[in-house]
Amino acid sequence: MSMINYASREINCKIVYYGPGLGGKTTNLEHVYGKVKPETRGKLISLATETERTLFFDFLPVDLGTIRGFKTRFHLYTVPGQVYYNASRKLILKNVDGIVFVGDSQAERMEANLESMQNLYDNMAEYGYDLTKMPFVVQYNKRDLPNAAPVADLQAALNPGWEVDDPAKFRVTPDPYHAGENLVQQISSGEWVERAPYFEAVAVNGDGVFDTLKAVSKLVLKALA
């Protein structure tokens, strides 16, 4: 739920990083925190266990610039990835404006990725939110690891696309981030299918972190336009 405050001239938006445990959600926020100018961000808050696993959430407020005289303030949250913290995860999703799913590219984490993606759809549906109609991007993290699954396999499993039901969207829409690929296209059975934009990342050294953040933030603001 974006909040536009005309008095303080701010647009406030909430972005949640979702995904399986140890996938790199907190690492994404830590990289953003380390790289943006201190005057454009607040404190990075982590509600974590003694072993630095996210217990409730991490939180980082960042200003991404001014548009039409309004500051764009993004509140970035992560959720705890571990399966048994679902109540906390669901709580953080409340009033979300944009979602980043941080998948773990390691082949042996495929099941955890699938479980987390299903959990995301389920939790969103419980709030009555339709993820396919919201700003949503997928990040495949840990691309540097030798056991990383091919992107095509990850896409097929985690981002196969959803059927487009709005005839106004029945047109090929190229993926601006991957030449030769499309975000909306017609498949052989005749159906039109849309996929979420995806990014490859190595969050631990920052690769792909800002590309992901930029893409989801842009989608959130465009949803207001």
């Binding site: 739920m1 974006s2 909040m3 536009i4 405050n5 005309y6 008095a7 303080s8 647009i11 406030n12 909430k14 607040g42 404190k43 808050i45 509600l47 409730f56 959430f57 939180f59 407020p61 991404l64 610039g65 548009i67 039409r68 309004f70 764009t72 509140h75 109540a87 906390s88 709580l91 953080i92 409340k94 009033n95 979300v96 404006d97 549906a125 709030y127 009555g128 939110y129 339709d130 109609k133 919201m134 930029k214 933030s217 842009k218 603001l221 465009k222 949803a223 207001l224 336009a225």
Partner: protein, 163 residues
Amino acid sequence: MTAGAPTWTFTEDDFGAITDCMRRFLDDTNAMCAMLVDKSGQLVTTVGTAPGLDATTFATLTAADFGANDQLARILGETEFTTLFHQGERESVFVADVARRLILVVIFDSRTSAGMVKLKLKPQVEELTALLDSAMARSRAGAPPRQKLLHGAEQEIDDLFQW
């Protein structure tokens, strides 16, 4: 299902009425600071001061605290815990639901008492609820004149991310 939670907009008039109401509450109770926080953790406004307070962080943690307690209430079969109280050695905090949409946070110290703050909190919440309900009703009745703040701003949005 909807595309997501609806966007909501504060006009300057709404904002002025809300801050006036909160300022009167601080005068009446001698509390240090009052904040109005959206349940998603966004700070709507703050009145008064508390030394060293990071209002943005405080707002986010308060919303999470309130949300977690809301779930605890449901587990117990309660509809909600409408008010929370955190007692400290020097400073204490009351947190109250406003119109099921916002949270009022009051920080106070020994210059007043928990009893005084609690006594004045109920009428304060009722007044804020009435203000917000009428703002929401206006919003539902018809789009506010400037709701489409970013209408036609696609290129400006693209330009914003040229970093």
